[in-house]
């Protein structure tokens, strides 16, 4: 009896420990991601995880060129803009079907848009539509002209709208599916994309499979599974042993180990972000009529609470730019996972001015400028240090300390100020700071989403500021507004380049870094291209 039991036990143990099921079925890609999704309605989410799943299920009228934020046709084959720039007519692709068999047409497009802006729409109640008010405020309505033509009507010309149309928010959803599931449609996504939704086991995985009736060639992958592995060390180990074939967000400390492993490949691209230190130039305005635009007659400049005499002088701000060794900060504190920044937007964007020469690390010249400005012995200044780490600012306290020691070398004493993150954002928006560490991650990939939001004079409104240096130059704002109103890309780019020159000369910001996006795949996984907007498109991926 006992020996029988022992044999059974031995057999069970043997079975359990035998290496089965570890090898992946070819055509199935399991991707280890850091978190689960919050929902699967493209218009009703803001978190990266949800967006990255839906990028493979849904499509919009336009889409990004591989690895960039330039747009190309997708469900719309072509479009024309009216002379005044307020109407865009889209011609839709014919013969496309949703995963549930519904035909893609103008009704589906109007449905996907109208449910977000029309409060009387029967499906408006099923979502918060958080991005609509923020990115599509200039859209008045979407109209059907015929079955395969729609017209987008804008309240005023907005050149960034075409980039915004490549956002997940305005992906086209199946109206039949929405009708069938109503408030539960977010659990049963149905689009026109290369992969179909199969199942979502909460906190564990989401399974998609290839759409056999895709209007382009069928995807090479048969199955695409997003598996949640929240711990970055565990994620890398799962990749090493082959439980998953790709992962996101590896620990910077593990990068050397990844590079040394021939079985893995590391993909690195600059991210759509910028980390900086802003110096309060002293003046902002109160946005009395809350329209987000400074009315020059009725909204005069007033001192910000953080007004500090030395920082109002351009020479001082330039001196601070010269006194900080940015390359060393990037190498040692970003641990090589970022590139040094010289402008306020990422280098791959339309209108990036590469001709600008960055302030070199030159403490001697910094001292000269300080003396010229009347501060040969320096001064004491307060720096707001972020309490949280962000992709654009890995370790704010250490970066703060580095800046402190660089500025001490030219005679400037830096004191730190730290509060919780919510209060931090509130206080800096009110202009309480003298200097602060902050940054930005872009939303849609359009330069306006950096330049106007962060550096425009209109963004100097005390209490809701996005321009944390309170750089109130109106000529610069005119350039940015003109850029938003023109659809000619060359002209737009020229406006932004000029604006960056002015911002560089004024030196209100010390631009530190653009941090990279890192992803790791098994070496036999090919075709994945990192998109600057951190969206994951698995359609071109092939397992060799």
């Amino acid at each position: 009896m006992k020996s029988k039991l022992f044999i059974i036990l031995l057999l069970t143990v043997g079975l359990v420990f035998s290496v089965v099921g570890a090898a992946s079925a070819s055509g199935t890609l399991v991707f280890g991601s850091s978190g689960d999704v919050s929902g699967l309605d493209p218009a009703d989410v803001t978190d990266g995880e949800s967006i990255q799943r839906m990028d493979n299920i849904f499509e919009g009228l336009v889409e990004f060129e591989s690895g960039s934020t330039l747009i190309k046709p997708c469900l719309a084959t072509s479009w024309e803009t009216s002379a005044d720039g307020t109407e865009i007519v889209f011609h839709l692709r014919e013969g496309v079907k949703f995963h549930d068999g519904t035909d893609f047409n103008a009704d589906a497009v109007v449905f996907s848009f109208a449910r977000q802006y029309d409060t009387t729409h029967p499906y408006n109640q099923y979502g918060e539509w958080p991005y609509w008010g923020y990115m599509f405020y200039d859209v008045d309505r979407m109209e059907k002209i015929d079955d395969f033509t729609v017209k987008l009507v804008l309240k005023r010309p907005n050149a960034s709208i075409m980039t915004s149309l490549a956002m997940f928010t305005v992906c086209i959803v199946s109206p039949t599916n929405a009708e069938k599931y109503k408030e539960d449609a977010f659990k049963n996504p149905c689009g026109t994309g290369p992969f179909k939704f199969v199942e979502w086991v909460k906190d564990d995985h989401i399974t998609l499979e290839a759409n056999e009736n895709y209007w382009r060639e069928r995807a090479s992958l048969d199955k695409l599974i997003f598996k949640v592995i929240s711990d970055p060390s565990a994620r890398l180990m799962a990749l090493e042993v082959g439980e998953v074939q790709g992962i996101e967000y590896p620990n910077p400390a593990d990068l050397d180990r990844i590079k040394a492993n021939k079985d893995l490949k590391l993909l690195t691209e600059p991210g759509m972000n910028v980390g900086y230190m802003a110096m309060n130039e002293g003046y902002g305005y109160i946005d009395e009529n809350k329209n987000g635009v400074r009315d020059l007659d009725s909204e005069p400049l007033v001192k910000t609470p953080g007004y500090f005499e030395p920082l109002t002088k351009k020479e001082v701000r330039q001196a601070i730019n010269l006194a900080i060794d940015k390359q060393s900060i990037v190498d040692n504190l970003y641990m090589g996972t970022a590139i040094k920044a010289k402008n306020g937007m990422p280098p791959f964007m339309l209108g990036y001015n590469d001709a600008i020469e960055d302030y070199p690390y030159d403490p001697a010249r910094a001292k000269e400028l300080l003396a010229k400005a009347g501060y040969p012995d320096g001064f004491e200044v307060t720096l707001y240090v972020m309490p949280v780490s962000r992709p654009y600012m890995f370790d704010p306290p250490k970066i703060g300390e580095a800046i402190q020691s660089y500025l001490a070398a030219v005679g400037i004493t830096v004191k730190f100020y730290q509060v919780d993150w919510g209060t931090y954002l509130q206080e800096t928006m009110e202009g309480n700071h003298q200097m602060c560490l902050l940054g930005w991650t872009g939303d849609n990939g359009d330069p306006d989403n950096f330049m106007n939001v962060l550096y425009g004079a209109n963004a100097c409104s005390i209490g809701t500021a996005g321009n944390y240096a309170f750089y109130t130059n109106n000529t610069n704002q005119e350039l940015l507004s003109a850029a938003l109103a023109t659809y000619d890309e060359e002209k737009r780019a020229a406006y932004y380049k000029k604006a960056q020159e002015m911002i560089h000369e004024d030196a209100g910001w010390v631009y530190l870094a653009h941090s990279n996006q890192n992803m790791v795949f098994k070496s036999n996984v090919n075709g994945f291209v990192i998109n600057p907007t951190s969206r994951y498109f698995f359609y071109p991926v092939v397992i060799e």
């Binding site: 918060e128 958080p130 086991v201 906190d203 180990m237």
Partner: protein
């Protein structure tokens, strides 16, 4: 006995009421706003206030509490702010995962802990005794997340014996019925799924079992030592019973009462300890659910889970008290 159980169940009410007030106020004391979390940092104030209104977050705190309490009394834990799903449903969906993990851990802990404690006590001051007690001390002090990573490193990456994270292999198609994977795979006769889910269970269960295992070993040892010094043991030995019989037949049974108390208490602690283990091993249980709820400031989720954990804890303690009667017939409840 019936009267005793009814009395104990009634005592649940004030306990849970207290817990509900604590759960409700603690998460609200933490900085952060669920409306902002859902809407994203760039959202317009209108969107944020609309969300606040929809979920009643703009009402006074006492009103919010009453509304929630009334819901709970109707058996409704409310809807998650983030996912818009019913919290009770979400908890029940994840509960089998946590229970399966906890049960297996407890099984490991009881078997290994009791055996180690008994042997230690019967060979007091031997090298075996010292090393077991040293190990037990080590076990209580080990941080679970570190141990988890080490287990993955050794058994997953180096030896490649066991999988690293998740609930079951992604390559196995599998039908969920009760949510208990081992049970479901047996019901459907899916041997591959049974083995796979068992393989995925082992490392997290071991990581989770170390602390209770160590506690159980120490309590068993001291309780055994006490019993072994008593008169009836001397009588047994004098009667000429073999040492084996003395220990396993007579001493162990008498030494079990404190051990059962510890097991009961630890079962509750295990449910809570599962939070860390589930995070390290990406286990889709209630622990992960509550952690996500806290980071997203999803008030109904956190409140619901805390209430649920507290009820489980109280119920497990009650069961422990009932088990005493069967172990020691001298115990009566009036």
């Amino acid at each position: 006995m019936k009267w005793y159980i009814t009395k104990r169940l009634f005592m649940l009410i004030p306990v849970l009421l207290g817990v509900s007030i604590l759960a409700f106020s603690l998460i609200r004391l933490a900085p952060g706003d669920p409306a902002v979390t859902i809407a994203g940092q760039h959202a317009s104030p209108q969107v944020i206030s609309a969300i606040r209104e929809k979920y009643g977050l703009n009402k006074p705190l006492t009103t919010q509490y009453w509304i929630w309490l009334k819901q709970v009394l109707h058996g409704d834990l409310g809807r998650s702010i983030v996912s818009n799903e019913f919290v009770a449903k979400e908890i029940l969906e994840r509960f089998p995962n946590t229970i399966e993990l906890t049960m297996l851990s407890m099984f490991f802990a009881i078997i290994a802990g009791c055996i180690a404690g008994i042997i230690s006590a019967s060979r007091q001051y031997s090298i075996f005794d010292y090393s077991i007690m040293g190990l037990a001390l080590f076990g209580v002090s080990l941080p679970v997340f570190w141990l988890g990573i080490m287990l993955m490193m050794i058994f997953g990456v180096w030896l490649r014996w066991l999988p690293i994270s998740g609930r079951i292999s992604m390559m196995i198609s599998f039908q969920r019925i009760t949510g208990f994977y081992l049970l479901d795979s047996l019901i459907t006769g899916n041997l591959a799924a049974f083995i796979s889910s068992l393989r995925y269970l082992i490392l997290p269960s071991i990581a989770l079992s170390t602390i209770p295992m160590a506690t159980i070993a120490r309590v068993t040892r001291s309780s055994m030592l006490e019993v072994l010094r008593q008169d009836f043991i001397r009588t047994e030995r004098a009667k000429g019973l073999s040492e084996r019989m003395v220990i396993y037949k007579h001493a162990v049974r008498n030494a079990m009462i404190p051990v059962i108390t510890v097991i009961g208490l630890n079962f509750g602690l295990l449910l809570a300890g599962a939070i860390l283990t589930e995070t390290v091993f990406s286990w889709p249980g209630i622990g992960r659910y509550v952690v996500n709820g806290v980071t997203m400031r999803d008030y109904p989720v956190v409140q619901g889970c805390v209430l649920f954990f507290a009820s489980m804890f109280v119920i497990v303690n009650l069961i422990t008290d009932i088990v005493y009667v069967y172990i020691d017939p001298r115990i009566h409840y009036g």
